[in-house]
Symmetry: C2
Subunit: 228 residues, 2 copies
């Protein structure tokens, strides 16, 4: 199979020296890539510059992206020519649109006007005690995947923080339906550390628990191979 | 001499998955550390986890910090026991204090109330098209150095973006006086790339131009050794 994997995290620039980063080491994506390569599959890995990456391999192609706009542009043609997308990247929900001192906000007659403003300076100045940063929602890439290629098999990820198992599974199942995914890997930041990585592989009927990154990669390989 | 060097960039958390990062590879701090080590000095390097670091050395101690609060706590005792501080780290000017949807802002009667709010959630939700992030100024560490140790020799850095030489020098000289520094290294992001790193080493009387990271490190070594 031709497997497309995303990993790492995107970064959205505030100005030329600062950006908002979604943290992800890329370790899980690397492991998933290695697991599919070992089984003879062809892998394209789209990841961020600082994420962990597999060793070079004849069947592996690596592309790096910085931000959501890059990711969108890179992913669309690739989705069209792969059989499976495992979308493990931590993608920024919001991108900075305008930053200003609090006094400008306090003096404004209509707050809506800030939603269309853009900064002219390449480094935003830092005089006031408080600044306000406006952020705009980025396109939800996972929801576009099936419009690009209705036949691609889609595995999505859902990362929540400190929720119950029930909530985790429920949110995963909503995402499954909304994005027409085959599996959503649902995990909680509070049960991920150096030793373990709890995750539920959720589909319409069941949820399989994996306890480590290796198990997640292995279960994905099995599930995607069985129903080929 | 006992040389304290800061390098890399700080990151301020928005929530448990996102943060605002000041970009810096740490390459210049690494080079400065190596240059002083080669001349037999003792070096303490305070840097960020992902910054480039020198190879281990018996006379080198490396400490890592994430954010401005860490940096403040780590630096104060170190400043008291070193002869020189070369403060090359890209330190966040602002730290996130509260993030909310635009609708909450639009409905508020007094905008000032947002300045003291804190988020309760560990991952801020992402329903609205626009979010607003409030940021609070961080303590200016360079201005505290001489209060911790009036005898320490201080080298500060000033990074601007796309300004004239005159403005760069003027801003550097203001910083020199305000922070009681011995030298301010003034540089402009638009004249830094893989090949070159233009920087003016500014003191009360003169400004020396360095054209590469190696020259900056070498000039710092010379200037700090001569007037010992």
């Amino acid at each position: 199979m031709k497997i497309l994997i995303t990993s790492g995290g995107t970064s959205e620039k505030i100005d030329r020296v600062r950006s908002i980063t979604n943290h992800s080491t890329g370790q899980l994506g690397k492991l998933i890539a290695e697991t599919f390569l070992d089984r003879g599959h062809q892998v394209t890995l789209v990841t961020s510059p600082k994420a962990l990456k597999p060793e070079p391999d004849a069947r592996l192609k690596i592309l790096t992206v910085e931000n959501v706009a890059d990711l969108l542009e890179t992913l669309e043609p690739l989705v069209k020519e792969h059989d499976v997308l495992i979308h493990a990247m931590a993608v920024s929900d919001y991108s900075p649109s305008y930053m200003t001192g609090f006094s400008q906000l306090a003096q404004a007659s209509k707050l809506e006007e800030f939603l269309t403003m853009k900064n002219q300076e390449s480094k935003i100045s830092s005089e006031e005690d408080f600044q306000v940063l406006f952020l705009k929602k980025t396109p939800k890439i996972i929801s576009l995947v099936k419009t690009w290629n209705p036949k691609i098999r889609l595995v999505g990820f859902k990362l929540l923080v400190d929720v119950s198992k029930e909530e985790l599974i429920q949110v995963a199942r909503e995402s499954l339906l909304k994005n027409q995914a085959e599996i959503i890997v649902a995990n909680d930041l509070t049960t991920i550390d150096d030793q373990q990585h709890l995750a539920y592989l959720v589909d319409e009927k069941e949820e399989n628990l994996a306890k480590t990154k290796q198990e997640i990669a292995q279960l994905l390989l099995e599930r995607l191979s069985h129903s080929e």
